[in-house]
């Protein structure tokens, strides 16, 4: 081998090696890192003996370092944080190498700590990733950067509320639609929404105001101590300011029955009305205002017009009050203004005795005959003469049935003697053969034995009829009219002094013991022989 030629060749190659020593790099850096080309810059990224350390990368990329230390952004997600920077952002693959291999379509935005939901899913990257939304001045200058945004809604969205509701939009809004505050829980405010308030559009209560030249919906500072800031007081203040004392939020037409003070109305609730359900009077809805001038505006006329006919009374309250329908307040004086004057025993009897003879009350009678109420216990025993027009008062008075004012002299049997002092019923109230007692008037004959017992056992019958009055008067039972001398045996002599029983002994005949007055044998021996 030609050694001089070989030496020259090696020297040439060594020279060339020095010329290209700058190209010890395994490949060109990307345009982003082009300034780091060159042998002297290797250790700016490489750590001798340790390849490429993340700390070297983050020394330059301080914005990423800050994000990671703040546990914020894509690079702080557990999946990314655990990786070496170069595993995603490799180098030495040429100037045009995509050192950030970012696919808009496949990027999992949730790894940034800001998951795309709702309308954010439909937004284009550049809708949010604009320099105008970036606050950091250095990052703001970069083109096509995805850094620099923060998670606050107002970093991209205009604060419609101009800071009046703080910075936490998530508290009310979600990402579906701004004008639907689905995250907002009104119950967590000082004004819990109940009833119809749940269905009311926000703007009904939260007015739009012009503030500093912009339209803003007022959410804070609304007065809600009472309802009047939003609702008109249809009562014009007459019922005070506390609507809630009567109304509930379910509906204005629904009254809070527990708190409503009916006394503030023209119809204070008294007595039984306090325990009546509202809808019993306010049919359908409490907002329905029933008539209340008359009781029958609400109440059924139990008496079916009996009282109001002829304007005897104009309203129930003449007889009843709210305490109860019973007892009636109808007074005797009022009754006495009716066509039937109460007197005597009628004053003492309960109303039902006359007015509730049957199942229902009856206050209007076709006639005022006693028999309208009273049973005619005499049946047919009274003739028209003594019971004219079926008028009991021809004999009875209202004081008592027992008080009779009857002129017996008008009858065939004038009361004389002892009969004057005898109770009527002694003669007229008889026990029938069937042991039933019955008044007897027309069927009562004037014969004494109709009432009196014939203790002589028909000894004095004359044609089958005994006329007591031949011997007796009405004064007593002594036979004052009897004249022994007009009999077939005149009393003379010692006979006139004898006791009657000497000649008229008691006799037992057919089981009856009686004194035998009518003797058959007038011979002396008929009486005297026996004593001889």
């Amino acid at each position: 081998m030609n050694n001089s030629l070989l030496t020259n060749f090696i020297l040439l190659m060594m020279f060339l090696s020095i010329k290209i020593s700058a190209q010890i790099s395994p490949g060109e850096l990307t345009s982003f890192h082009a300034n780091l080309e060159g042998l002297s810059n290797c250790t700016k990224c490489h750590e001798l003996g340790k390849q490429v350390l993340n700390s070297k990368c983050l020394d330059c990329h301080s914005e990423i370092k800050i994000l990671i230390s703040n546990n914020n952004g894509y690079h702080s997600s557990p999946e990314v944080k655990s990786k070496d920077c170069w595993s995603c952002h490799s180098e030495h693959h040429g100037r045009n190498f995509r050192i950030i291999n970012f696919s808009k379509d496949n990027f999992n935005h949730s790894k940034t700590g800001f998951a795309l939901t709702g309308s954010h899913q439909k937004a284009k990257c550049e809708d949010c990733h604009q320099s105008k939304f970036i606050s950091d001045a250095k990052i703001k200058k970069r083109k096509n950067t995805f850094l620099g945004l923060n998670k606050e809604c107002i970093s991209c969205h205009e604060d419609y509320h101009k800071g009046s509701l703080g910075r936490n939009c998530d508290g009310c809004h979600n990402t579906e639609k701004f004008n639907q505050v689905r995250n907002f829980d009104h119950d967590k405010t000082s004004f819990k929404l109940t009833g119809e308030h749940l269905n009311v559009d926000c703007s009904k209560c939260h007015p739009v105001e012009i503030k500093n030249g912009t339209r803003q919906t007022r959410f804070k500072g609304l007065s809600f101590s009472n309802c009047s800031p939003c609702h008109n007081d249809v009562h014009k203040g007459s019922l005070g300011k506390d609507c809630k004392s009567c109304h509930i939020t379910k509906s204005f037409k629904i009254i809070n029955q527990n708190t409503f003070d009916h006394s503030k109305t023209r119809f204070p609730l008294i007595g039984k009305h306090n325990s009546v359900k509202c809808n019993d009077c306010h049919k359908g809805s409490v907002s329905n205002k029933p008539l209340f001038s008359k009781c029958i505006d609400c109440h059924q006329d139990f008496h079916k017009g009996d009282f109001v006919k002829d304007n005897f009374v104009t309203d129930c309250r003449h007889c009843h009050n709210e305490s109860d329908f019973s007892p009636s307040l109808f007074t005797i004086d009022q009754h006495n203004k009716s066509k039937f004057l109460l007197d005597g025993a009628h004053l003492a009897i309960p109303c039902i005795s006359c007015h509730k003879k049957e199942n229902q009350w009856k206050f209007r009678f076709a006639s005022f005959d006693c028999q309208s109420c009273h049973q005619n216990v005499h049946g047919n025993e009274l003739t028209e003469k003594f019971f004219p027009g079926n008028n009991c008062q021809s004999c009875h008075s209202s004081s008592s049935w027992r008080t009779i004012s009857f002129d017996h002299s008008g009858t065939e049997f004038e009361l004389l003697g002892k009969h004057k002092s005898v109770e009527c019923r002694s003669c007229h109230y008889k026990t029938e053969t069937d042991n039933r007692r019955k008044f007897k008037f027309v069927s009562l004959k004037s014969d004494c034995i109709e009432c009196h017992k014939d203790i002589h056992f028909s000894q004095f019958d004359d044609n089958g009829k005994t006329d007591c009055r031949k011997c007796h008067s009405f004064e007593n039972w002594k036979p004052e009219k009897f004249d022994h001398n007009k009999t077939r045996f005149s009393l003379e002599g010692a006979h006139s002094k004898l006791d009657c029983s000497k000649c008229h002994p008691s006799e037992l005949k057919n089981g009856n013991t009686f004194i035998k007055y009518k003797l058959d044998d007038f011979k002396c021996a008929a009486c005297h022989s026996q004593r001889l």
Binding site: M1, N2, L5, L6, F9, I10, M13, L16, S17, I20, S21, Q23, I24, S25, P26, G27, E28, C42, H46, E47, L48, G49, K50, Q51, S90, H93, G94, N96, F97, R98, N101
Partner: protein, 291 residues
């Protein structure tokens, strides 16, 4: 090593070389055919990139093979003590194997990305390989003893005359065929050969020899020569023509071979120097493969 064992020896090298080349090509075709700027996103990147677990291995194994291939051949060739340790031809074949497969592995290690200082090493390696191939061609143009010693012109002429005598006793050519064979076996016809017309010369010569062989075959068939004899005669004719060519080109080839050494070794040295720099830099920066 007998002839069969030698065939297995060489065949095994060939098989390994081809298999490694094909397997690695098939395995990494998708990656290697991807542009450099897109390779990072290729699923095989971490495996067969130059610093990948497999790619880095290619470089290390390939380099070791080259170091081994060069060093053992140089030691065997230059050390008198090892003069009897196998035939130099076989060591050369091992050197060729290791220094062919090694660069192939290094080629896959580069992932066909050629840049920076290390590319000087790579291209040096390529030149060494190419020059090696050329050297191998020149080498075989110079007839040697089995121990690798070059035969001088006298020995060669004696060999050719023996061969010519044998042929003339074996075969009877017609006149035109005999005239052509005489031209083909005349070393004087290589006088005009030089580096510039070498390719054209070889192409024309190859065509001429091919035509002659066709006429010869036709002639022998007409003469009714047995199949075995036919093959033997054909081999003898080819051997004499080749021997004549080697005699005719002997001085030229010996000159080429000297020049070849000037190219082959310095490129190898450059390759190794830069390769060592490359390895040192790699280790300094912490890329230690599996270690």
């Amino acid at each position: 090593m007998n002839k069969t064992l030698h065939r297995i020896y060489v065949g095994l090298f060939f098989l390994i070389g081809i298999t490694v080349t094909i397997l690695l090509a098939v395995n990494g075709y998708s990656y290697y055919s991807t542009s450099v700027e897109e390779r990072f996103f290729h699923p095989q990147h971490n495996l067969i990139k130059p610093s990948g677990s497999l790619g880095h291995g290619f470089g290390i194994v390939g380099s070791l093979m080259m170091i081994l291939g060069v060093s053992i051949y140089m030691i065997r060739k230059r050390s008198r003590r090892l003069f009897n340790l196998g035939y130099l031809k076989h060591w050369l074949e091992l050197h060729i194997f290791l220094c062919t497969v090694g660069p192939i592995l290094v080629l896959y290690h580069t992932a066909f990305k050629f840049g920076g200082i290390v590319s000087v090493s790579f291209w040096s390696m390529v030149l060494v390989v190419i020059s090696g191939v050329a050297g191998r061609f020149i080498y075989i143009q110079i007839p040697r003893t089995i121990q690798g010693r070059e035969l001088d012109i006298t020995e060669l002429m004696k060999l050719r005359n023996e061969m010519s005598d044998r042929l003339s006793s074996e075969i009877i050519f017609d006149k035109s065929l005999m005239d052509e064979f005489s031209i083909l076996t005349s070393p004087e016809r290589y006088k005009d050969f030089n580096l510039l017309n070498s390719i054209g010369f070889f192409v024309k010569d190859a065509i001429r020899i091919r035509k002659f062989k066709r006429r010869l075959i036709s002639h022998m068939r007409k003469a009714g020569i047995s199949k075995f004899r036919f093959k033997e005669l054909k081999r003898l004719v080819e051997a004499e023509i080749i021997l004549t060519r080697r005699i005719g080109l002997l001085r030229t080839m010996q000159k080429f071979f000297r020049y070849w050494h000037i190219a082959h070794l310095p490129f190898a040295i450059i390759m190794f120097i830069i390769m060592i720099v490359h390895i040192i830099v790699t280790i300094i920066f912490g890329y230690k493969w599996i270690f």
